[in-house]
Subunit: 197 residues, 2 copies
DNA sequence: ACCTGAACACCGTTCAAGT
DNA sequence: ACCTGAACACCGTTCAAGT
């Protein structure tokens, strides 16, 4: 047993960690500020110093999610071949793995509920993920493996497909088991959509 | 003022109608069974006869949403040219319009939260929507405007893209204003992905 | 600055009892 | 069968007060 200080130390960070755990285990609906406070041994009013709202907590969770998603995607590119096909494949698998590995988090990240208030930051974070697709396309164009044209106009549809697959997989709207082989079809289809004439 | 009977008449249907209105106006988070009951002039315990759970209400709402989405998509095909490109364009616009016209509903439809319990029906409803894409592809193949191969393996990526775009648009993760012209790029990209060699 | 305790106005869900 | 009323165990949020 540790003696517990009056000040928690870093309640904000602790709340986020615990919240994501609960999110993963019991879903958004079961996420309660009061329970979080209980779990961390602080009063139920304590969280309000760090998150003005339950929504503010969710926003922070989503922001964190985007940061980690970005890291995951970047990491997927380090030890992979240089061809566009290989890089796209690695990116796609990484995105889908992230999604299926944390379905509830993805739901929160792309939830409509991020009111126009603090969502500025969130949308920027989301956009940063999309930019990875942009870089991928630009590089593919340099290599002559992707058709010419404004890179955003190719990367946007591509990212759209990637996200759509991940979202469908996560909401179990994809024929189960199809998630794995289905992704390969999706990747092939994306390659077609990006290929030079 | 009507005299109010003891029996509501069709409380179940009334709950669904009112719930979707609230969903549209104030979001899922603000949807409360007690408030619904208040609005309809019944006791707060009355809804439980028709929906064992708040989740059961949401599931019913989602099921309804899928049915209407299906109707919308079918309707989009009636007065449109016969070419694959035209039919796909019509379908895509219809899907995105449905999504942006009822963002909160789409969120509920594709939410992770439909527990494995009653979700059987929901997943079937979702799958029915996907089947429209399947028919589109099959017809396109007959016309020689879509490449050969198992239709599902082409329609699945296509539907994935469609849904991804709608979902991103709805969660405001798409560069605003890009939703309109962006869709055209996505349609062109889908056509590429489906085109014969 | 950070947290507590009490208070307020809500929830979802259940269950005996009424019609 | 369908609904009511009361009860239970929760919520989020606010705000004076404590350290």
């Amino acid at each position: 047993m540790q003696t517990r200080r009056y000040h928690h130390g870093d309640l904000r960070a602790a709340l986020l960690v615990r919240a994501e755990q609960t999110l993963r285990e019991k879903g958004v609906a079961a996420l309660s500020l009061r329970e979080l406070a209980r779990d961390l041994g602080v009063s139920h009013a304590a969280p309000s110093r760090h998150f003005k709202d339950k929504q503010a907590l969710l926003d922070a969770l989503a922001l964190d999610g985007f940061a980690r998603l970005r890291e995951t995607l970047v990491a997927s590119q380090v030890s992979v071949g240089e061809s566009f096909a290989e890089r796209l494949g690695a990116l796609a698998h990484a995105y889908v793995d992230f999604a299926t590995g944390g379905a509830e988090l993805l739901d929160v990240m792309y939830s409509v509920k991020h009111g126009p208030a603090a969502s500025e930051e969130l949308i920027a974070a989301g956009r940063q993920v999309g930019e990875l697709a942009l870089e991928l396309i630009a590089e593919g164009q340099r290599r002559g493996e992707v058709r010419d044209g404004p890179a955003e106009r190719i990367s946007q549809p591509l990212f759209t497909t990637l996200h759509g697959f991940a979202d469908l997989a996560v909401s179990s709207m994809l024929p189960l088991g199809v998630v794995e082989e289905g992704l390969d079809d999706v990747i092939a289809y994306m390659l077609r959509g990006c290929a030079p004439d």
